[in-house]
Symmetry: C2
């Protein structure tokens, strides 16, 4: 088996998040208890390991093809898509109103993690369906909702996001695709977009492109963008498909990884026959995109966890099998006996575990936000989610790249040979620090919009939660030392906080250390989650000495081997100097 | 132009190394002065940028093919090889006695760096010729030398190293290839080897395989290995080629990178007609291999520098061209104006510069060792080279992987699209931390053979050199603070030294932090070299304010942004705990 869900961790971290956010207080969540969640995870694991995982390497080696404007997905893709939708997996967390199951996020999160571990390239349509549904629900008029939403939730139609243009990557303000209002209220769309995931494919009967475009009289910059639903085949008033909507795939990218997921260049309205329907108001497109972007960033952070897990599993299996070198008294041994290999495996495992804990916690926060009636609480939780989003996205994906690298290292020479499949994890992971906003962009978002804008209020609250958990851990004899060290790091973080918020701070110099700052916060959040898990593990130790003992070891391993580096990044932030401006390239 | 030698840095660091090792004292080096060196670098740059660099991407996209047992190299490879040898580049540092030019290493090093930057996959034969020549010169009898060496130096024949077998990667002791002595003194070779770089190709008329094999009565383990020259076509007494020597290429690897360099599986003696000639004595094969291994490790470290430089150059060019985002008061800007992009570029540049300095210094050390008559000095320098070899190999290649990752990050979405060529650098770099001994193996070598074995004597001497250079730097007002911080780090390193050498040290726990230890030493050596360069730059500032000012900025940037992480790794070593042994996988 090339992937099996880390069932035990998932179960345990789902509970940790559930408890931390007090989800049991919400009667609206009563339909779903943790036992049901376990059962769902169990089923999803079967699908992930038996259907999706076996297609992962095929997707990489065969990839997608563009033939006469049609994108052909890898062998098996189409059938797996059919099964995925029919089994109800697509609709899992989508609204019940349109045929979904409306599952809480804290349960959907581990399920999504499995999809992403077992076959990330394949499952990218699912996050698009999730984001597209949310946008249409929030912004589209009832007519559009009625005609589109149930088809998207069922998987009959897929969603594609058309944002980027050749000259506009991170900088959406300079988009030039045009939307011309017509007498019937629809718009004629014309322009070229690139980097459109599943922009064209052969798995569903229609593709709903959500296109950012500009009306003729729109203000310049990002405030002049409107969002349109632009289906590959037009959708009649009765919801039936009619003629082809003049949307052409002009190319698919030859990418380093994610070969199974077609990344399309699309030309809209070559023959002036591409019709779009406005979603929401004109010039309000970016607002809708932001919702999607935040969703996508959290999903992308989870990809970091998922690929980290996959890298760990593959190298653990290999380390058990590969005999090489000997140890005094033991003769020749499997390489898992070598301390350096164990160190690499623990690096991978502790980081992935910590980020899983963080990701599940964020999912539970979304549930808390969506189910609470206490407006003040909702807004505080929303702020925390907003603060954690760039940290989780940026840090989890950066760490996934390192983890994939360590996995190759465990494989040695075999890691460089494509047949073993481990290099694919590295190649697939490579884009995660780039798409949905590079790490640099996450870091700027964190520094300015999430920390400086509210004068550090949200971060102060996060720190307070961390201190509460640390003092709890301090009460346990085995964890006192870790808790103490953690508090030391938090003290340094507070010094950094003052430095960043100071009136004297030089913005250029701060921007130059934004990524080290994000990385430090990512490491600190990881340490926090591990400390919390270790505390819970210490309490449950008697139930399963080996498993919970391991969890406690993960925490102390991380504190010795990883945390010092992130603490060092705090010093980098404090020492931020003018070299970056002064250097002449 | 896709690559241009960093001429200015090369010139300046060649002089820095020359001075540091006092090479002007050796009259045997009088034939080569620094001006001649500059001229050679200038010529090599033309060849690298005009002939080799344009073939680099072709090598990646087309790769090698195996057809009927013949390996076909990528288009242009054969012609470039011809030109390379005819222009005398192959023989540059090879012995004059056999037709080479016997250039000192401190000049050959920047030249080799250029080859590796411009087309690493192509030029891998050169290091093999270098190592093969050295082995034959030191160990082979005169007859073999006479028949083989001039052909290797001229490039008419290439060298291949056949060590690894499917079950014996890092662990040579379990090799099973057989060598049966025959009445005429030759040996019949039989066995399967894998991972043989240029083990078969179409660029030269013969290939001399240096094969590790075992005679029937040999002791088990690595002390029973003998080394044989096994040519693809047999070599008659008069040096002429005769019949095919029963050496068959059974496959080439489908690798993540270095597609232009064929990595062959070879079957020796399928028809019992493969004849080898013993090099040196029976059972002394490993001794010869060690020489080669050390050579290869230093060459591999230089690959880290070379790929780091290539990654830096490509992303610098892109950052100047790509317009994205705006800056208040400047409107839309090239991304090089964004502080985070500048940070990434400075990360790449400072690390690559530092490792270039270290690599050139090691080359100058080899010259000092080979030209000095003072036996004590020779043995001390040899010890220093032995100490620095695993650090340079391990650290430079690990950093090259990070640098290549940062380069992709500068490219953003375009970095994930293969056409831009930057992902190739990452893929090519991926093997450098694995072949010629993984980073884990370098770290064990460093910890045990290079530090613990001599009770830290060699490292103490290295530290003394560092302290001398630091106190020199301290005399300069602009560098006082850096020098002080550096001395602080050295104090921590001394604490680590005592920890490692302590009788109470737990070997398993130490082994588990061997890599962090190596990384810390790599970072410290980098900081040392940058401090030294900054000191020299401060002295020459008036000659070129911009260039030397930049060098000083590189040092302080590295001290703020990189050194803290490596200092943190020292703390990881000090806190080495038992998690690695206790954890149950």
């Amino acid at each position: 088996m090339s992937y099996l869900a880390p069932y035990r961790d998932m179960q345990s971290l789902m509970r940790q998040a559930h408890q931390a956010l007090g989800l049991s207080q919400f009667s609206s969540l009563d339909d779903y208890d943790l036992d049901l969640a376990d059962a769902i995870i169990d089923e999803a694991n079967k699908f992930a390991s038996q259907v999706l995982a076996p297609l992962n390497q095929v997707g990489d080696t065969v990839g997608c093809r563009l033939e006469d404007g049609q994108v052909l997905t890898p062998p098996g893709w189409k059938e797996a898509y059919q099964q995925f939708c029919e089994a109800g997996w697509l609709g899992l967390a989508l609204p019940e109103e349109y045929g979904g199951q409306g599952l809480p996020k804290y349960i959907a999160q581990p399920v999504n993690e499995m999809w992403q571990s077992s076959n990330l390239a394949f499952v990218m349509f699912a996050a698009l369906a999730q984001g597209g549904t949310e946008i249409l629900q929030k912004f589209a008029n009832d007519d559009i909702k009625d005609r589109y939403l149930s088809r998207i939730v069922s998987g009959e139609w897929t969603v594609a996001m058309a944002l980027t243009e050749p000259n506009a990557g991170s900088d959406l303000g300079v988009l030039t695709t045009k939307a011309l209002r017509q007498s019937d209220g629809t718009y004629q769309i014309k322009g070229q977009k690139i980097y459109i995931t599943y922009g064209e494919h052969d798995m569903a009967e229609n593709i709903v492109h959500l296109v950012l475009a500009r009306t003729p009289d729109a203000p310049s910059g990002s405030r002049g963008l409107s969002l349109f639903a632009v289906p590959k085949y037009r959708v009649q008033d009765d919801g039936q498909l009619s003629e082809f909507n003049d949307i052409r795939c002009t190319g698919i990218e030859h990418k380093t990884g994610l070969h199974g997921s077609p990344t399309c260049s699309i030309s809209y309205g070559d023959k002036d026959a591409c019709i779009g329907e406005l979603i929401g108001e004109e010039n309000q497109g970016l607002k809708a995109m932001f919702i999607l972007m935040n969703e996508a960033r959290l999903s992308c952070g989870l990809q970091g966890v998922a690929l980290g897990e996959l890298a760990f599993q593959k190298s653990l299996t290999y380390a058990h099998e590969r005999v090489q070198g000997s140890i005094a008294g033991q003769g020749r041994v499997a390489i898992i006996e070598h301390p350096d290999v164990r160190r690499m495996l623990l690096d991978m495992r502790s980081q992935t575990y910590a980020l899983r804990a963080l990701g599940y916690r964020i999912a539970a926060m979304i549930d808390a936000k969506e189910n609470s009636d206490d407006h003040q609480h909702v807004s505080r939780v929303a702020q925390q989610i907003a603060l954690l989003t760039p940290i989780f996205k940026g840090f989890a994906t950066e760490q996934a790249n390192l983890t994939a690298g360590s996995a190759i290292q465990v494989f040695g020479g075999m890691g460089f040979v494509e047949e073993t499949g481990i290099a694919q994890v590295m190649r697939d992971a490579r884009i995660t620090t780039i798409y949905e906003g590079t790490t640099g962009i996450q870091a700027k978002d964190l520094l300015h919009r999430k920390v400086r804008l509210d004068q550090g209020a949200a971060l102060d609250e996060l720190l307070a939660s961390m201190r509460t958990d640390a003092s709890l851990a301090q009460s346990n004899a085995d964890l006192g030392l870790l808790a103490e060290r953690f508090e030391g790091v938090l003290n340094t973080l507070e010094k950094v906080q003052r430095h960043i918020l100071s009136d004297q701070a030089d913005i250029t110099e701060l921007d130059a250390v934004a990524v080290p700052y994000l990385m430090a916060l990512g490491g600190i959040c990881s340490a926090w989650q591990l400390l919390t898990s270790a505390y819970r593990a210490a309490e449950q130790q008697d139930q399963d000495k080996e498993y919970f003992g391991n969890v406690m070891l993960l925490a102390s391993f991380y504190f010795n081997n990883q945390l010092p580096k992130f603490e060092a990044s705090l010093h980098t932030v404090l020492q931020s100097g003018s070299e970056v401006s002064q250097y002449r390239f």
